[in-house]
């Protein structure tokens, strides 16, 4: 029962990952890509959540914890870059 649910969850997450990657590739602007990256971070948290359940090892929750705390730093960095006047014609 739970195994099936986990597989379904994995599948859904995988699809979400696929769409995020498409956005990452397509852009068109850098912020669009960053949004996709942020979502991928959240999806990673989701993955870990499912895995914690299927493996029964809660130690992996710490990975999610750190991810939740720090992953947004990348977005902040990109934002700073854009505001400081990085190359906008990059894309």
């Amino acid at each position: 029962m739970l195994t099936v649910a986990a597989i379904i969850a994995y599948l859904l997450l995988g699809l979400a990952l696929l769409f995020s990657l498409i956005r990452l590739v397509r852009g068109p602007s850098l912020p669009d890509r960053v949004v996709a990256l942020e979502l991928i971070a959240s999806l990673t948290v989701g993955f870990i959540a499912v895995y914690v359940i299927t493996s029964g090892k809660t130690a992996f929750l710490d990975v999610a914890l750190v991810l939740a705390l720090t992953a947004f730093l990348a977005a902040i960095g990109f934002a700073r870059y854009l505001e400081k006047g990085g190359h906008r014609e990059d894309d």
């Binding site: 895995y51 299927t54 493996s55 029964g56 090892k57 130690a59 992996f60």
Partner: protein, 115 residues
């Protein structure tokens, strides 16, 4: 799983090498990042991969309650990751400065020192 990982790691090596062979120094750095990831995963794979067996001893016990994944390989990878980060930080800043002094993101304009 190791079999599949062997192919994936090979793919990462290929991607890294391809990027390193570009003229752009920025691509060179991306290649280096890919390369160090590839090597870390190679160790991980070569040491053998186990699902859901983190090498932790439960509270109050002296040894884990069953087999665990190879902690030594993990320690090596951890070390390699941190070393890789240090080296990468240096390399990244180096290309930044190189770009500043050379004025181009093109390795072909950086060959005065050789002969």
């Amino acid at each position: 799983m190791e079999t599949l990982m062997a192919f994936a790691v090979g793919g990462l090596y290929a991607a890294a090498i391809y990027m390193m062979l570009r003229r752009s120094i920025v691509k060179l750095v991306i290649g280096l990042i890919l390369l160090s990831n590839a090597a870390n995963l190679l160790i991980f794979t070569a040491a053998g991969m186990d699902r859901g067996l983190p090498p932790l001893v439960p509270e109050g016990a002296l040894v884990p309650d069953g087999p665990v994944a190879d902690p030594l390989a993990q320690a090596l990878i951890l070390t390699a990751i941190v070393i890789g980060f240090g080296v990468l930080a240096f390399a990244v800043v180096l290309i930044h400065r190189a770009y500043e002094v050379v004025g181009a993101d093109d390795m072909d304009q950086m060959k005065d020192t050789d002969t």
